[in-house]
Amino acid sequence: MRTPRRAALSRAATCSVGALVLLLSACTAGGGGSNGAQEAPSADQKVTLTVYSNFADRELGILNKVLDGFHTAHPNITINSQGSQDDDKITQSIRGGNPPDVAISFSTDNIGQFCSSGAWQDLKPYIDRDKVDLTQIPQAVQDYTQFKGTRCALPMLADDYGLYYNKDLFAAKGITAPPKTMSELLEDTKKLTEFNADGSIKVAGFIPQFGFYANHPQVWAPQFGAKWLDNNGKSDLATDPAWTEMFNFQKQLVDFYGWDKLQKFTAGLGQEYSPDHAFNKGQVAMMYDGEYRTAFLKSDAPNVNYDTAPSPVADDKSNLYGGGYVTGTIIGIPKGVKNAGAAWELIKYLSFDTNALVQLANGLGNVPTTKAALHSSDLKLPAQFNTFLKVFDNPNLANNPASPNGGAYLKTVEDLGSSWQSGTVKDLHAAFAQADKTIDDAKALGGN
C-alpha cells in the first residue's frame, strides 16, 4: 500500500512544482514574436480593430468621426473605439493579454517603458516596408515618439505651450504688449496683481506655483534653456546653471505674493479643465498653457478677451524666444494584438493623412503634427491659435527626454520644486545634486 501512495504523492509534488514554474515563467503574456511587419488584411477580409484613447464626451466624438473616415476608405475594417483609457489602463490591458489593437496615449511620459519593455511594438519594419518619410515631422516630435533608437510610436497631434493673457486686464493696467523676457513677466505680474482688503489675493498676475495648472518644470525649462541631461546621459540639474536661474526666478515670483497667500489662493481656484478655471473667471491675468486651452476657452468662457504669445524667455537667452515646450498624443500597436497589419494602416492614417489630421486639429484644437497639415488652408482655428502653429515651426521647440522609468524624473524635479517654493529647501545646489543622484539611480532600477 505504501508504494503507490508515495508515488501518487511524489506525482502530486511534481505537479505542484510544475504549476509553480508555469505560473512564474509564463509571464511573457500574449503573442510576442513580432519581428516582421504583418500584412494589411485583404479587402475581403473582415477585421475589427479596438482603439483605446483617453478622450471622453465631445472629444471622443471628434475622434470617432475621423475613425469613420478610415472605415469608409477601408470598408472591411470596423473600429471599436473606447474612450477614457489612460496609460495605466492601456498597460494593464497589455499585461492582461487583452490589449487594444491601437493604443492612443495622451502623454509622452511612458514612451521609454512602452518601447524598452516591448509593451508597444517596434514600428520600424512597417516604416521601412511602406517607405514612410519621417522628416514630415519636426525633430522634437520625432524624439518623443521613440526611445534609444526603438520607434514604437508615432505622433497624433501635438501640444505646445505659450503665454495666455487677458487683454482687458492688460488694458486696465496700461500694459500694451505681452512680456518677452522674465523681467518683463515679473514686472507685469506686479502691475496686474490685486489684493483684497484682508491682504489675500484677489487677482493674480501670473501664478508661478509648480504643480498648479500647467506649471510643470518641463514646461518652464525650455524658456530658460535648461537641459535635462548632459552629454553622457546623466541628469544635469546641478551643473546646468539654467536650472538654478529658473528656480531662483520662480522663487522671486512666489515671494512677491508670499507662499501662504499664494497657496491659499490656488487651493480655492477651479480645476484645470473645469469651466470655473481661474483664467475663465478673470482671477489670473497671464498663464502658461497648451494650445488646447483655446478650445476650452471657446466653449467654456467665450466672453474672455484674451490673446496668446510665445512664452517669455530668460533675459540673457533672448535668442530662444519664439519656441516653447512640446509634448503630444502618441499612438502605437500594443504587444500581442491579433490584427497588427490592420492596426498599422490605421496608425498611418491617423499620423500622416492630412485630411484626418486637419479634421482632428480643427475639432480638438491641437497642433497637427505633419508639415503638410500644419500649413493646410483647411485649418479653421481661432486667431489666438496662430501663436502655437508658429511655436511648433520654431527651431527652439523643445521636449523632455524619454527615460526608461517614464515620468519618474519629472516627479523628482516637481517634488523638488514643491519643497523649494514652500521654503523647505535652503541649499538649492545640494538639492539639485541630490535629485541628480536620485534620477540616475532610479534609471538603473529598470535596466538589466
Binding site: L23, C27, Q92, S93, N98
Partner: protein, 294 residues
C-alpha cells in the same frame, strides 16, 4: 451582548434609577448633552453631502450650506454622466457572487475548525489568522501576474474566485459562532445517525443563522466597498467597473461640480444604509464576535 436597539446597561442603572438625586439629574443632562453633540458630529458630514447634492451647479461653487433651490434632477444627471446602472450591476454581481462563494467554502472550513478534532487544527487556525491579517498589497504582484497569464484581468473573475476558496476573515468569524453551539445537539444528531455533512446543515446552519447572516453581511459590505481589488483587476475595462471605482474618478473624468459628485456619493451610500437598517442586529452581533478575548 449588546445590540444597537437595546437600552444601555440596565443592570448597572437599575439600582441608581429608583431614587434620583439632583446630582443624577445634572449628570443626566451633562451626559446627554455630550452624547447629543457627538451624534450630531457623526451625522453632520452626511447631512452636508445630501444638502450639496441638491444644489445648483452655480451654488455648489459657493460656500453656501443650504440649497437656495432644490435640484433633485442632479441625481438623474449623474446617470447621464456615467453608466451608473452598469456599475451598480457590476458591484452587485461582485458582492453577491463573493458572498455566495464565501458561504459555500467557508462554512465547512469553519465547521471543521470549530467542531472536529484533528491533528494540526490549531496550526491551521493560526494560518487562518495570519492570512486574515495579511495586507492585500503584499501578494498583489504575483496574484495579478497569475490572472494576467490566464487572460482574466478586466473581468470580475479575479475578484470573485478567491471567495470560493475560503475567506480567512469569514472562517475566523464563523468559527467564533460555531464554537458556541452546545455539544449536546451534535451528540443527539450523531445518535440519529447523522454524518458530519448532515450535522453541518441540519444542526449547525439552522442554529447559527445570525452568525451566517453576519459573515455574509461583512463579505457583502467588504466587496461592495472594495477599491483596491477592482482598481487592480477591472480598472482596464470600464465595462467591468464597480461603483467605488467609478466614484473615485467621477469628478476628474467628467469635470463636474461638487453637487453632482455629492449626488453620486449619495447614490453609492444609499444601498449601504438600507442594508444596515434591515440588518443592524446581525452587524452588531458579528462585530462583537470579532472582538476576541485572548
Amino acid at each position: 451582548m449588546a445590540t444597537l436597539t437595546a437600552t444601555a446597561a440596565p443592570t448597572r442603572s437599575a439600582a441608581l434609577r429608583k431614587k434620583r438625586h439632583p446630582r443624577d439629574i445634572v449628570g443626566w443632562v451633562a451626559v446627554h448633552a455630550v452624547a447629543l453633540a457627538m451624534g450630531i458630529g457623526f451625522a453632520l458630514p452626511i447631512v452636508f453631502v445630501v444638502l450639496t447634492a441638491f444644489m445648483s451647479d452655480q451654488q455648489a461653487l459657493t460656500s453656501d450650506l443650504w440649497p437656495r433651490s432644490w435640484h433633485p434632477e442632479n441625481f438623474l444627471e449623474v446617470f447621464d454622466k456615467a453608466p451608473m446602472l452598469e456599475f451598480f450591476g457590476n458591484s452587485l454581481l461582485y458582492s453577491v457572487l463573493a458572498t455566495a462563494g464565501m458561504l459555500l467554502s467557508s462554512i465547512p472550513a469553519a465547521y471543521a475548525l470549530a467542531r472536529l478534532r484533528f491533528r494540526g487544527s490549531n496550526f491551521i487556525f493560526m494560518l487562518v489568522i495570519a492570512a486574515m491579517m495579511l495586507p492585500p498589497q503584499v501578494v498583489a504582484v504575483p496574484i495579478y501576474s497569475m490572472w494576467a497569464n490566464l487572460h482574466l484581468t478586466g473581468t470580475l473573475w479575479p475578484l470573485v474566485v478567491p471567495y470560493f476558496l475560503g475567506d480567512a476573515f469569514s472562517i475566523f468569524l464563523l468559527r467564533q459562532f460555531f464554537v458556541t453551539v452546545p455539544q449536546d445537539y451534535f451528540d443527539a444528531a450523531r445518535m440519529d445517525g447523522c454524518n458530519e455533512f448532515q450535522m453541518l446543515y441540519r444542526v449547525l446552519v439552522p442554529m447559527t443563522k445570525p452568525g451566517l447572516a453576519a459573515a455574509g453581511l461583512f463579505t457583502f459590505l467588504y466587496t461592495w466597498n472594495d477599491y483596491f481589488g477592482p482598481l487592480l483587476y477591472v480598472g482596464e475595462k470600464q465595462d467591468s467597473w464597480t461603483l467605488s471605482l467609478a466614484l473615485a474618478s467621477f469628478r476628474g473624468m467628467h469635470q463636474v461640480q461638487w453637487n453632482l459628485t455629492m449626488a453620486a456619493t449619495v447614490l453609492v451610500l444609499v444601498p449601504v444604509i438600507v442594508l444596515f437598517l434591515f440588518a443592524q442586529k446581525s452587524f452588531v452581533k458579528g462585530i462583537t464576535f470579532t472582538g476576541v478575548k485572548g
